[in-house]
């Protein structure tokens, strides 16, 4: 009887996807029909840069942040101010935006990550509300309600295609980093935080440090994403960074399913495309969009990622479990292994 272990099957699937998606992403500009489609694809990429980092916080560590839009805004204004006003190179601004995002993430996370579930979500929400309000208030720096233009990146990233490749490369890099985190001890540690903080503490996981580290990382990706976002949109106003956008990032992960990367990616793609599909219905477009969303949840109530997992699960048969039979010599041997070098 053929029997594939979950991990083996999941590995197979993820390896195929891990090779396939980047190649596909690189080839896409040659496949799409026009600049609009490229714009939407770039937008997906930009959102994904943020979501990939946020996924570690929400999907893995189980910390419900709905305030990353605040970090996105910080990144966006960094580009607009540094490059647009001060004339610093955009790539430089990108790095600064990442650092600033990380710093803000760290400073926000330091008190907020001590809060239990819902309260943490509220704290992040509060943060994003404060950020947008400050953007309006400090109009000398940010242009206030009128917003400010955001410059493009220098050549070769100044064309739609060039910028797309910049986003794809950054997106792939972030995905790679997030993937590395998720599949090693850190990923397991994060899942432990999410599913049982009691167990996590019991095995010695420094709970706050882990949360803070991934939250900071997600701040960096949010800052970078903000920078790219601003450049893609050309012009930013505080009105672009709404509560709804914060929820959007959150639900990309929720609909994708927790504890995996491909699901939230699919979620980001689907959720970005849906309004575009509904757009030609003009007045009814927004209604249609929410109805489509609702239908999507009801059709795949476990999230896209879990649907995928269920598919993998189909390829395995639960064994007829033998009774537990300890192998004492092996146990003793395992226990008397030398300590690893510090």
């Amino acid at each position: 009887m053929s029997k594939i272990g979950t991990r083996a099957a999941a590995d197979l699937v993820s390896r195929t996807l891990a090779r396939g998606i980047p190649l596909f992403a690189l080839a896409l500009p040659f496949l799409v029909g026009n600049e609009y489609q490229l714009h939407v694809l770039t937008l997906i990429g930009v959102y994904w840069v943020l979501v990939a980092g946020l996924n570690l916080v929400v999907g893995y560590a189980g910390q419900l942040s709905v305030g990353h839009v605040g970090l996105l805004a910080i990144g966006a204004y960094t580009l607009a101010i540094l490059t647009g006003r001060a004339g610093i190179d955009a790539l430089m601004a990108l790095a600064v935006a990442g650092m600033l995002g990380g710093l803000c993430g760290f400073l926000l996370g330091l008190p907020a990550l001590r809060l239990p579930g819902f309260y943490f979500a509220m704290a992040t929400l509060a943060f994003s509300l404060i950020v947008t309000e400050q953007l309006v208030a400090h109009s000398t720096l940010t242009g206030g309600g009128a917003g400010m233009p955001a410059p493009r990146f220098a050549a070769p990233f100044d064309t739609a295609r060039g910028f797309y490749y910049l986003v794809v490369v950054i997106g792939l890099a972030v995905t790679w980093l997030a993937w590395n985190i998720s599949r090693r001890m850190w990923g397991r540690g994060l899942i432990a935080l999410r599913d049982s903080d009691v167990a996590a503490a019991a095995v010695g996981i420094p709970v706050l440090r882990l949360k803070l580290a991934v939250f900071t990382f997600s701040g960096v990706t949010a800052g970078v994403a903000g920078c790219l976002f601003a450049s893609l949109q050309n012009y930013i106003t505080p009105e672009a960074f709404t509560f709804e956008l914060g929820m959007f990032f959150f639900i990309c992960i929720i609909i994708g399913g927790r504890g995996n990367i491909i699901g939230p990616f699919a979620g980001t793609v689907v959720l970005t495309l849906l309004p575009e599909i509904a757009a030609p219905f003009a007045k009814l477009g927004n209604l249609l969009y929410s109805v489509l969303l609702l239908t999507a949840v009801l059709l795949i109530p476990k999230g896209i990622g879990s649907a995928l997992a269920a598919w993998v699960e189909r390829h395995r048969v639960r064994r007829h479990a033998p009774p537990v039979a300890p192998d004492l010599p092996r146990l003793t041997a395992a226990m008397s292994q030398p300590e690893p070098a510090p």
């Binding site: 979950t6 001890m185 503490a201 019991a202 996981i205 580290a213 639960r318 537990v324 003793t332």
Partner: protein
């Protein structure tokens, strides 16, 4: 009462804990030596789980002290104690349901994961080596406790008995000096209890001190070197199994006629 502290023992002195008006523990002193299996018995609500929780750091201590060898752990956090070598299992198993059995056990080895997030992120050779080491250790431990057939299963689909052994394996992955077990035999059938006994004996041989909270008295008296009986948060007696079994207070409040 004075107690001779054996070298490297986990010793508890005059531990007190109140919950509101209820005194869950009032002046408990016990000592767990390396390489011994010590039973902890007592009626329901006598404070056994509370004692375990205080040993592993989940509750702050009202009064008293906890030392591991010369190290003062009285105010240490849960994590600190875990890294100092105190591992435990829970009255109801606390596994990570979505992780496989192997990953659950690897998680137990957190103490030895030193690669840090940057290292993990960049997939540094060190992180990879560490992962390999931990997964090998986890594999050996799982096979050792008899779950070789369940490596890849998600923890939540395991049978109750398997979950108990998995939790023990996870505790062992931390290379602990002491293991605190809260009713590990709860819900196990006869032969699984026998396996559990064998595993505990193996631990003892490896020099690990085991504190065993358990209501299966036959099992406790058979397997333990010493047994401590508590009632109303106080130690009644701490002695060899035979003496404890015959102790009149223990019979009166716990064993019954």
């Amino acid at each position: 009462m004075t107690m001779q502290t054996a070298t490297g023992a986990l010793s508890v002195r005059g531990l007190c804990k109140h919950f509101g008006g209820v005194a869950a523990l009032s002046g408990v002193s016990i000592e767990l030596r390396p390489g011994e299996v010590q039973g902890l018995i007592g009626p329901n609500g006598s404070g056994k789980t509370t004692l375990l929780n205080m040993l592993s750091g989940y509750y702050p201590i009202d009064e008293g002290s906890i030392h591991l060898g010369n190290e003062d752990l009285t105010r240490a956090t849960v994590q600190r104690r875990a890294c100092a070598g105190i591992a435990r299992t829970f009255q109801t198993p606390r596994l990570l349901p979505t992780l496989s059995a192997l990953e659950n056990v690897m998680l137990g080895g957190w103490r030895d994961a030193r690669a840090g997030m940057i290292g993990a992120m960049l997939s540094s050779p060190r992180a990879r080596a560490e992962d390999k080491l931990l997964s090998e250790r986890a594999l050996e431990l799982l096979c050792g406790v008899g779950l070789a057939h369940a490596l890849d299963e998600r923890a939540d689909v395991l049978r109750h008995g398997e979950q108990r052994f998995l939790e023990i394996a996870r505790a062992l992955a931390a290379r602990p000096r002491f293991v605190l077990l809260d009713e590990p035999a709860g819900g196990l059938s006869g032969n699984e209890i026998a396996s559990l006994g064998a595993v505990l004996a193996a631990l003892k041989n490896c020099g690990i001190g085991v504190l065993l909270v358990e209501h299966h008295t036959d099992f406790v008296f058979r397997i333990c070197d010493r047994v401590t009986a508590i009632d109303f948060g106080r130690v009644i007696v701490c002695d060899t199994p035979d003496k404890v079994r015959a102790h009149e207070d223990v019979v009166r409040v716990y064993l019954g006629a």
